[in-house]
Subunit: 271 residues, 2 copies
DNA sequence: CTGACTTTGTGCACACGTTCACAAGCGGTA
DNA sequence: TACCGCTTGTGAACGTGTGCACAAAGTCAG
């Protein structure tokens, strides 16, 4: 991350003495050449996702007029514990003031920089069914720096029809249109059977990041990043918790009913 | 998990000699009462999500006519490595045959049982905007045992209008309707400001599992399970990867250009 | 029945992520 | 200036999840 910082914030932001932190982190990996890559990768995926959450909470605070926050406050608002929050923030640098807290504006700027939100990322949505419609009309995307600049479908009846103010293009034009409009993120909202083919087209059109809503495991080359949102899986995980809860209730009830004294359940299982 | 199995598969399926596996797992936890709970919880969240994926792949294989799969095949189709797959399956029991593989039908049955899919889970969707419409019309839910049985919105113009064959109810009726229709999963697709209030209503209506699409951190009591799907976060994580890639390319290019011999980049950073 | 071959199930080591606890550092106050 | 209280930043312990590698256990051929 030191390398990143060195690359881009040449002016402004008062670079705050990058001293001890740098030395301690990736040195143990001795005699390894791609140390520069290590550094950029040094921020855990889970932390990245949380940074996005912090960013939204901070935006809300800024609109509300807060100038500074403590890790405790911010953590509460984001639904995590404060130690984790501080560690997450430490991955991107030391922008807090001890005894005071963090300046909201500074944090927002830094998180946006790390997440690459200083530049806009054009989004293409492929598959204009129910979900595709919803995505095309969703205000949260352009509002956060992700303008939807292209829509595609196979259905000839849909091609040319404007959805969310943007005419639907035909799937065969993916390569050309994506190149023209510099699409950097492709969203797949097609039926499952079409997903892999669409994915291949996006990849060969140069799109390197894909958000996949189709319940399919996509095969992509190494340099392409895929994130999957699977509604059925989410529901099934919830279903598991319902079942677990029911089972626990049953087991506990049985245990209580059977013998009120000590570890009866344990004994039962072992025998 | 032994307790679970004991509870419900009394008939059929030829219970395959639960011997050594049982003994090795939770014994180290000495003299602890809630061992029964431990067992049900013993299956990691990450594994549960993957089980849902395996289930879908298996369903596809069954339709395709496959009778058995090896861990290698199934793992490839699900996009994980075979060791992880076997470990995941071992959490639910030993249903494979060494030297042969797993019987597709058996695995499907067992995974469905563990995920609690033997019983239907009614779903209520709150917030019939773009996304709510899409969810109400989404065929993947009822097809997988999650019938959408109630829709709600605040907008009086929407109340009574049928969406996806189901009339929209008013938010004030959540408690009554959810109880009537035995809703076990609530889906929140409202604008952010309304989400917490809707959540509170669902909880007080007895709903214990919530799938939240609103970009808000919900506050719920301990016994309620929340899963969050946040499209903005997904995009921002992708954006981070775009930025990281760009940075790496820049750093590596610089490193190569500056000095072809050894760790020039490291030196630069430390000094 | 034996032996060769295949694939599962899992002990073990490792890596990653989370949490704790505390020194370091800053602002305010006397 | 010296002290005090507060909050950050982070080493270190811990727990969880992942991947390897192999023994156990089955099938099949001869």
């Amino acid at each position: 991350m030191a390398a990143q910082r060195g690359q881009r914030n040449g002016v402004g932001v008062t670079p705050p003495a990058p001293t001890a932190a740098e030395i301690t982190t990736p040195i143990p990996r001795v005699t390894e050449v791609p140390a520069a890559r290590e550094r950029a990768r040094a921020i855990p995926e889970a932390a990245v996702a949380r940074l996005a959450v912090y960013l939204r909470v901070l935006s809300g605070m800024q609109e509300h007029g807060s100038g500074t926050v403590s890790s405790e406050e911010l953590a509460a608002a984001a639904g995590v514990n404060s130690a984790k929050l501080r560690k997450d923030l430490s991955y991107i640098g030391s922008y807090g003031t001890r005894g005071v807290g963090y300046e909201v504006a500074v944090l927002i700027e830094e998180i946006e920089r790390i997440l690459g939100l200083t530049r806009k990322h054009s989004v293409a949505v492929v598959g204009i069914g129910n979900l595709g419609h919803a995505l095309a009309n969703y205000g949260g995307f352009p509002g956060r720096g992700f303008p939807v600049t292209a829509l595609f479908d196979v259905d000839p009846d849909l091609v040319g029809v404007p959805v969310g103010g943007l005419p639907v293009g035909h799937i065969d034009d993916i390569a050309r249109v994506c190149a023209e409009r510099e699409v950097s993120i492709g969203v797949i909202a097609t039926p499952p059977p079409a997903a892999q083919a669409v994915c291949d087209r996006l990849v060969s059109a140069g799109v390197q990041c894909i958000l996949n809503f189709a319940p399919v495991v996509l095969q992509v080359p190494d340099h392409v990043e895929v994130r999957k949102v699977d509604l059925a899986v989410e529901l099934q995980v919830l279903s598991f918790h319902v079942a677990r809860r029911a089972d626990n209730a049953a087991v506990l009830a049985e245990a209580n009913g059977r013998a009120a004294n000590g570890r009866a359940v344990d004994g039962m299982v072992v025998s």
